[in-house]
Amino acid sequence: MSTLLPPPSEIARMPADWVEERSGLLSIGKYMLFRNVPKDISWLQTLGSALMTVFILQATTGVLLAMYYQPDPNTAWNTIAFITNDATLGWLVRGMHKWGSSIMVVLLFLHMGRTFLFGAYKYPREMTWITGAIIFILVMAMSFTGYLLVFDERAYWATVVGVNINGTAPILGPALSYILMVGPEISTHTLSRFYALHMLALPGAIGGLIALHLWLVIRLGVTSPPWSRMKVTEGDV
């Protein structure tokens, strides 16, 4: 009987083999994670992964916050207060989301700075830079829309000022402000519009762009620093 059974190591591998045979997901994962990179890369090349980690954290804590938050002018702040003071570990979830947003912007600047100073945006990586730049703009939009949701005095007046700064653009500025506020003044629609953008449209777009950005990184590989003494071999760019 026992001779009919495959060895235990093979049994342990069976679920993974089952998935791999049907989807090829494991080899895709291996292809993505076990790439060759230049010998002289450093911690500076980990800023992108750090950013993605923060994005995942923001998405997760955002989902948790949305479980109690109500985007209604009369109750928004009360639900925030409930999350902070009453919900179990709510202060931690909200704190992580709040500080995570700042950390994301800081990391974004560092990541962009590293890419710029290393010249890593050059051929053939222009598209990686462009998708990154769009992600940067969308993260700014995330910060702006998220700021209002707390709906305390600071959130309200900061949004008033932000919308009016946007309105100082000639020709289209006032119209864009009307679109942002859904009318000439901040109203109940403004809050739900910002909420919809903040939790659905913008993170969806950022997620998709991160996937594209990552694919380009995987396809094109990582650059050596400008001071690298490694030899360029045939086929490398």
Binding site: V160, P174, I179, S187
Partner: protein, 205 residues
Amino acid sequence: MGETGNEKAGAASYSDVNDPRAVISRSKFLTGATVGLGGLLGVAIAVPSIGYVLGPAFAGEKWYWTNFGPADSDQFKEGEYQPVVFERGELGELDRRVAFVRRDGAEEFTIVSNICMHLGCPVQFKVTNFACPCHGGQYDTEGIRTAGPPNRPLNRFEYKVENGNLYVGRPFATKEVDGTVVMTDQFKLPGSPTTGLLSWLYPTP
């Protein structure tokens, strides 16, 4: 297809991709149809969606007449601004506004909005001037800018006196003409100039 006589007549076969004479191959047609129909469906969904997003933004705000009480009340004094906090709508705190009311005659008033014309912060009245805490905008007692970044005088509310009561309506943009404040017939966002060439670059939606 051969039996139909098309080949004899030299007409192209629509189904044969390898036929160089093919006007359009089956796969090309299907690709075109998919892209075309898909695009049409996309437009059919996108256009109403854009209208849905933009429409309410330009539908205009609902404005209200708010009763400020008897027009002959002692609280409105000549040559002195009285701040009145009022809620003009159903949104509670979100609809709270502040007007500075000054009596100019028995039924004549100057009613100044507290929204700074730089970027919309609330201004305060300090004896001889209006001052904004955000970026230092300063206005004189008529609401004309004296210092700081604002580019036009403070908005003023329209008002009416009915049955002896003072009613305050919507705020209008003002412009400075020869040192006096003239109310325009438009609401304008803070930051939009009302005089000169620049006013043309900031059309009210």
